[in-house]
Symmetry: C4
Subunit: 205 residues, 4 copies
């Protein structure tokens, strides 16, 4: 029966992509709910002061959105080439999404306890797990012939290397964080900005 | 008029799948909102203690995500083969989604009252209903010729059998829960993990 | 410039359908957040009592989901035949979605003040507006040649008649509600169930 | 490696559109959560009074939905013609979505502090940034050959001009807001309604 059911399970990647976009979309937007309009009585000056107080929350929101965006890009890049799927790849993707949906929490946790090693550790573990699952999913897809051979030769190494390089950088950031929290966070954010904004100083075709 | 309108109703499964992914995506992600960043003052040690206290909530979240994932997989597997739809199948699917969106509640209810038979019962009824609707929807699609004949012969039995087997296991889990709550929950989680992670010890092609 | 821009605006219905499914998906699922797990200390008996107290909230949730479902079905049926779109139809659809997203509120409002004429009135106005916009959007699509001619002849009348008939029934329900609230609500729910579950006693092909 | 990875990144616009619809769908619907059913005891008269008190919140919700709708329309119009994508365009779109998801906050902020210049300023900056990113994304797509040549000649100027004209109007609205807040808001809303409802008095084909 198991074998039969394996044949049953969805082979098209369409729904995996659709559920991914739904979860990413919600996870990216949810945290904005945490930013409440301040309740003040007074003039513009006091309103500005109240708004400035919200800045850390906005920064956490931006960071959370950014981190989710980076992994959305990574997953998109993979599924551009993964042409088929099976139950296992579906579950790998669902577990990936589980850790995506936890990002708003771990980012807010980091935002509130930025000077605590533990918060940096948790945030880093979340990123580490996401990177690991991306690696596993690509590896699994490659081994099971879900990727065009031509693509495989040209870019598979690049995709894996990219994950390993970025995760190594994140590890360095986390380790630095144990020396000096702000330094660690700074490095992690710099890595993320590098991935996000790299395009400002490089040619694209 | 009724007959005419029946012809009107959507025959393509595209939107049924899209609304399903939207509801699943939201339902899977919503519960993370319940996990609030703890407010403490102190060093890492106290932060770790506060974080550990959140563990039950994380477990409930994971369980909820997992259960939703299992039924998302089940529904995906069906709609891989259901090629057409009508008003009735649309409504069956909407009612299925109604009980999907209740999952975060019933799981949280179970998480808070894990030693109460009633909470196990409610959780089990939720899963039972979801299984029943999946069975009904496949049956309906089969009877109305929405499935390729070839597929029907090969896998229809397997799909139905799978639902019945898993639901029987859930029933056993629930019954055990009336003897010992933790035993019952443990069995239910084991069944779910079996469906989710079965791939670690079986060959896939 | 306006004329030029009209040519620019999206002609494909794909994104209109996608944003609709996203808004419906969120609107259908949001209200479940209002159902909080009760906090009690005690045995199963007290837990059951606390759960029973939640029943009105569940009923409201089901009603809200059902109402959204009915209009999702109605819109789906239309877009099965509307093959092209323009800026105007896009805006008609967005305004439709605006009133869809208000449904959770008006339903909860009705649930809390079921014996108040005003709450019935607001709920009915919400449904009325949704029906009117569906009528307008079909009419607009028909007049602007966004529907296949063949379809137009066969079903356009049926679609319009259906909206008018159901809205007339809702009006009667609302009017009865001014005589006796429970009677009015009962009739409105009966109408909705009729649309939702009609399939139990009619043949479908 | 960078060059290789650029080839890896998603070239199809499908997922960019999907994540956009998910974020827009959530952002449009989220704010309704802020409108709580009032808790009163009394007859219809008191209920109406409580409901009327909610009107400002409804207006803010409608305004937020409308603003999001306008930018959804603008982005839709672009992606109707942008046929390919790369990493950079993906990031431009993600940053666009970041500022879309902040709209519910800035609109609510404006709603609560409508007589404060600062709130008008923040709201206007949000709209300005969204307009700028739309301009940048179209420009980028045009320069990188992601748009059909024929389309480029006919409508590219119109799309850019439209963004500039509407943003100039918003600027005037914001400046007027510094003279008289209500006048400024009124003008901004009038501009938005003009875009949204222009169809009532113009021919469409």
């Amino acid at each position: 029966m198991k074998n039969n059911y394996n044949k049953i399970a969805g082979k098209d990647t369409g729904r995996l992509i659709a559920i991914s976009d739904a979860v990413f979309g919600v996870a990216m937007t949810l945290l904005v709910l945490e930013i409440k309009v301040p309740e003040i009585e007074g003039d513009d000056k006091e309103l500005i002061a109240a708004f400035v107080k919200l800045m850390p929350k906005f920064l956490v929101y931006f960071l959370s959105f950014m981190t989710a965006g980076i992994f959305w890009m990574g997953q998109s890049a993979q599924f551009e080439h993964i042409k088929k799927s099976d139950r296992n790849l579906s579950w790998i993707t669902l577990i990936f999404l589980l850790f995506v949906s936890v990002l708003p929490f771990t980012t807010a946790f980091l935002g509130d306890y930025i000077s605590h090693n533990f918060a940096i550790g948790i945030y880093w573990i979340n990123i580490l797990i996401l990177g690991m699952i991306l690696y596993i999913s690509w590896n699994y897809a490659e081994k099971n012939g879900f990727i065009d051979d031509e693509v495989k030769q040209n870019i598979s190494g690049a995709i894996k290397r990219r994950i390993i390089v970025s995760q190594s950088l994140y590890l360095i950031g986390a380790l630095l964080g144990f020396v000096n929290p702000y330094l660690g966070i700074g490095v992690i954010i710099a890595i993320q900005l590098n991935y996000a904004f790299a395009f400002f100083n490089r040619k694209n075709k």
